[in-house]
């Protein structure tokens, strides 16, 4: 007995020690090398990007007395945990001294952003200021219950630069009308460089151009979903990069896989919509969605994607392409402001010229049209606690107003004047003084010169508007990005690239709230099930009808023809 017990114990101990050892070891397989220090700018000057039409530069005046220091709490996604956003770097210090504040930041991540804010707001514990991932059903509930601050009626005259951005977002004025006052300041993706209406989204296909050439695949700026799969099949068969058993022809996570296959073929894949016959329908049950799911299923089952793509966290799949070099293509985030870093990382890690070896492209549905629902010109909205002190609210609005001016917007995007950038002698052109090769690090980002750089310092205009003109990004990349945005508006029909239906957008009811779901997880689940994909999809549609049908009935009786 003693021997048996000892033997069993030894086996169990060995197994446990293996787990513990693995737990304590570093997982370095996906770590990026330090970013490239390649000079990034082909032209080092650019016409000064314009912010709002309101006051700017030296004429700008705060609405509050800045001599009294204020403290406030702030929550946002994409913050750096533990970083001092008051004095952590010279840029943070510049803002905190200029506006005399101390900011306590709660850095949320993509996985907990929406749910944590939702809990805080519902429990009356929200920070003074927060960047909110706008969701109309929740937003209506917050407004109805007085859980977020209503802006004073005169705010637009007091902070005209913010008001100008607010008008540009289109959702701002719409929601103001719906709620009978201002509760949200949506942040504009584009202020002066709006690339289209309806607005296309930025995620794009990054494809290994050198591999495509090696397997004889045509290089274009638009591919249908099936063409992307043809490329992946050729890569899988010929492995031109000699990645061996690590090769992933198309590297995706759950969200981008659904975006690539389902969303690119089905405009309304995740929402209700008004069909051409005037009745409201559910995108989940549309034939286009089924078409996308079939392609998704085919790609998954034929090994064109990683068999456990759904375990990829934190958008790591991009690094399979530009850091590890084991992916033939990836459908990935492509905001203009992030392209330089993506290309620099490729050069630093793969060791070849990204401008020669990466092909960026738009993915179309198999019908040859670009499919998307209007992105609407905003991403995230700034909200305030109903308990915020007036002096804090006014100070933060001052910060937002300043950053909506030309001067503020330039500082927020390029760093400190006369240190990182300067005006040319004409006074209207901005030139970059920042030399990444000399500094040995990028301007922004966690490892950059200014980790605080970004919207956490208070911005209503997001980066891509400025990025179109930012001399710190290679001109060819900026031009390519503009071209992709423009093409998406051209290779589409009014049905495939639909404009926002504001009536539907503003619709709210208990049934409507309960019919929300995580479509990305649902679709990935259908595709990874065994059995016939169409049968799986029909079963899924049937299982959802008990919560979907009441909404359709409501919509058709209240908004339908």
């Amino acid at each position: 007995m003693n021997k048996l017990a000892k033997s069993l114990s030894l086996v169990l101990i060995t197994a446990m020690m293996m787990f513990v050892f693995t737990a304590c070891s570093d997982n370095t397989k996906n770590e990026s090398n330090s970013p490239s220090v390649t000079p990034s700018s082909e032209s080092n000057s650019t016409p000064a990007p314009q912010a709002s039409d309101g006051d700017n530069d030296g004429n700008w005046k705060p609405q509050t007395d800045l001599s009294k220091k204020v403290k406030f709490s702030y929550a946002s996604v994409q913050g750096i945990e533990g970083f001092d956003y008051t004095k952590g770097d010279p840029l943070a210090q510049y803002y905190s001294e200029k506006f005399n504040y101390e900011m306590d930041v709660a850095a949320l991540n993509w996985d907990n952003w929406s749910e944590r804010l939702r809990i805080w707001i519902n429990s009356g514990d929200m920070p003074d200021v927060a960047v909110y991932n706008y969701n109309h059903a929740d937003a209506a509930s917050f407004v109805e219950q007085g859980l977020i601050k209503r802006f004073p009626d005169d705010w637009k005259t007091r902070w005209p630069n913010v008001a100008a951005v607010f008008d540009k977002t289109s959702i701002g004025p719409q929601m103001e009308q719906t709620f009978g006052g201002t509760y949200f300041i949506p942040r504009a993706r584009f202020m002066n460089n709006l690339p289209g209406d309806p607005l296309p989204n930025h995620p794009s296909l990054f494809l290994r151009k050198d591999w495509a050439e090696a397997v004889g695949f045509p290089i274009k700026t638009t591919y249908t979903t099936s063409e992307v799969m043809e490329f992946a099949q050729l890569i899988k068969e010929q492995d031109p990069g000699n990645a061996g058993n690590k090769l992933i022809p198309i590297a995706e996570n759950t969200t981008h896989a659904v975006d690539l296959f389902v969303a690119r073929n089905s405009t309304h894949f995740n929402k209700f919509y008004k069909d051409t016959d005037g009745t409201y329908k559910w995108g989940g049950a549309s034939e286009d969605t089924l078409k996308g799911l079939k392609l998704f299923s085919e790609a998954y089952r034929s090994g064109l994607m990683s068999q456990d793509f759904y375990t990829v966290k934190n958008e790591e799949h991009g690094s399979f392409f530009n850091v590890q070099g084991i992916a033939g293509a990836t459908f990935f985030q492509a905001p203009t402001s992030a392209l330089q870093q993506f290309y620099d990382d490729f050069q630093a890690n793969i060791g070849t010229d990204p401008y020669d070896n990466i092909q960026m492209a738009t993915v179309l549905g198999d019908d040859g049209n670009y499919h998307q629902y209007d992105l609407i010109n905003y991403w995230g909205a700034i909200i305030f606690s109903p308990n915020i002190k007036d002096e804090v609210f006014e100070r933060y609005m001052d910060i937002l107003d300043y950053n909506a001016t030309l001067e503020g917007n330039t500082i927020l995007n390029m760093g400190i004047e006369n240190v990182d950038w300067a005006y040319e002698s004409d006074g209207t052109t901005v030139k970059s003084l920042y030399d990444q090769a000399k500094e040995g690090k990028p301007l922004g980002g966690a490892t950059g010169k200014y980790p605080s750089m970004g919207y956490l310092l208070g911005s209503t205009i997001l980066f891509d508007d400025f990025a179109f003109d930012n001399p710190n990004t290679t001109k060819s990349l900026r031009d390519l990005s503009k071209q992709l945005y423009t093409e998406r508006t051209q290779v589409a029909t009014p049905d495939s690239f639909a404009k926002v239906d504001w009536e539907l957008f503003a619709y709210d009811s208990p049934s409507f709230r309960r019919a929300q779901m995580d479509y990305y997880t649902e679709y990935a689940n259908i595709v990874t099930q065994s059995g016939d994909i169409e049968e799986n999809w029909r079963k899924w549609v049937d299982s959802k009808m008990s919560i979907i049908q009441p909404v359709l009935d409501e919509l058709n009786s209240t908004l339908g023809n």
């Binding site: 007995m1 069993l8 693995t22 737990a23 059903a137 859980l147 759950t254 456990d308 709230r513 779901m517």
Partner: protein, 321 residues
């Protein structure tokens, strides 16, 4: 001669409490803790019959009767999650419940104290790791490019999709939970074993009993009451199914296989527009079922001759004749 009779204790509760007031004083902190953290928050259960409005608070929110429950039972995903929770937990009783007992029995047979303590420490350690860490280890070890599939490839086999296979999902739950918590639960049984009268072991050894016989006829019956209590508590928890574990291990491919009741509540509360009343209704339903199962298990154990969780109020007294 000694006879045992069951007689009613006629003294009133108050007089008995006063008589042993020093002993009752010792349980006062526990009672206060329970009142504050377990009973007072129960007023929140009323949300199940209201439409929660944060600005009105729990008391001020309007009553809507059973409307939330009507909706709950209309959603097929709810009933599916109820059955899934029950199945997963019945599996836990079958595959996990005996494991710490077995470990305790085996460990009890070891004679080298230092070795015994070392093993006990190693078994107990995983309990202190969070599920986030365990799941990270698991994902990195079992994914298609992970350690295990690397070994399989080295041996000439085809990689196995451990993390996305719904057939493997439940065994994975049982194995990882056993690895993490069996050592900790084992402590309870080890403590019960130390309470067994050593004279019984000495007599058995004198009578020539083998170690297996001693384990079978002395150790196991000696910890029977502990096993029964643990079993009743486990049954009473059948509707809770390790949210932390499943939340961290499941993914889009196993989302349906892992949608237990807790995951369902999480999804409807935090992954869509917040509806606290609706989630309270589901939580209340779960608690009621758990309570019913607890009583049921207690009755079954008593029916089988064990003492159960709530021993009879009738007092056994020894009467000298």
């Amino acid at each position: 001669m000694e006879n045992t009779h069951v007689v009613k204790n006629d003294s009133s509760l108050i007089s008995r409490v006063l008589k042993s007031k020093e002993i009752y004083f010792l349980i006062l902190p526990g009672v206060i803790w329970f009142l504050i953290f377990a009973y007072v928050p129960m007023y929140g259960l009323s949300l199940a019959f209201k439409t929660y409005k944060a600005n009105l608070g729990i008391f001020g929110s309007p009553w809507i009767g059973l409307e939330n429950f009507t909706y709950v039972f209309r959603d097929p995903a709810f009933l599916e999650s109820v059955w899934r929770t029950l199945w997963i937990n019945l599996g836990r009783i079958l595959f996990q419940f005996p494991f710490p007992i077995l470990l305790a029995l085996l460990l009890n047979e070891l004679r080298m104290n230092r070795y015994k303590k070392a093993i006990q420490t190693v078994y107990t350690f995983p309990h202190f790791l969070s599920w986030i860490i365990v799941s990270s280890v698991l994902i990195n070890s079992l994914d298609m490019q992970g350690l295990v599939n690397g070994i399989i490839r080295l041996l000439g086999g085809d990689p196995v999709n451990f993390l996305g296979n719904t057939q493997i999902f439940r065994p994975l739950l049982y194995i990882t939970d056993n690895w993490k918590s069996a050592g900790w639960t084992m402590i309870i049984y080890l403590a019960a074993i130390t309470g067994i009268d050593t004279e019984q072991y000495e007599s058995a050894q004198l009578d020539g009993a083998t170690r297996l016989q001693i384990m079978r006829y002395i150790t196991l019956p000696g910890i029977q009451s502990t096993i029964v209590v643990m079993l009743i508590l486990t049954v009473g928890n059948l509707m809770n199914s390790g949210f932390d574990q499943i939340f961290n291990i499941s993914n889009a491919a196993t989302a349906k296989a892992g949608e237990i009741l807790d995951m369902y509540i999480y999804r409807i509360t935090f992954q869509s527009a917040a509806d606290f009343s609706f989630s309270s209704a589901v939580s209340l339903f779960r608690s009621v079922i758990n309570f019913a199962l607890l009583l049921f298990a207690d009755r079954v154990c008593k029916w089988l001759g064990a003492e159960g969780l709530f021993p009879s109020m009738k007092k056994k007294v020894k009467v000298q004749r």
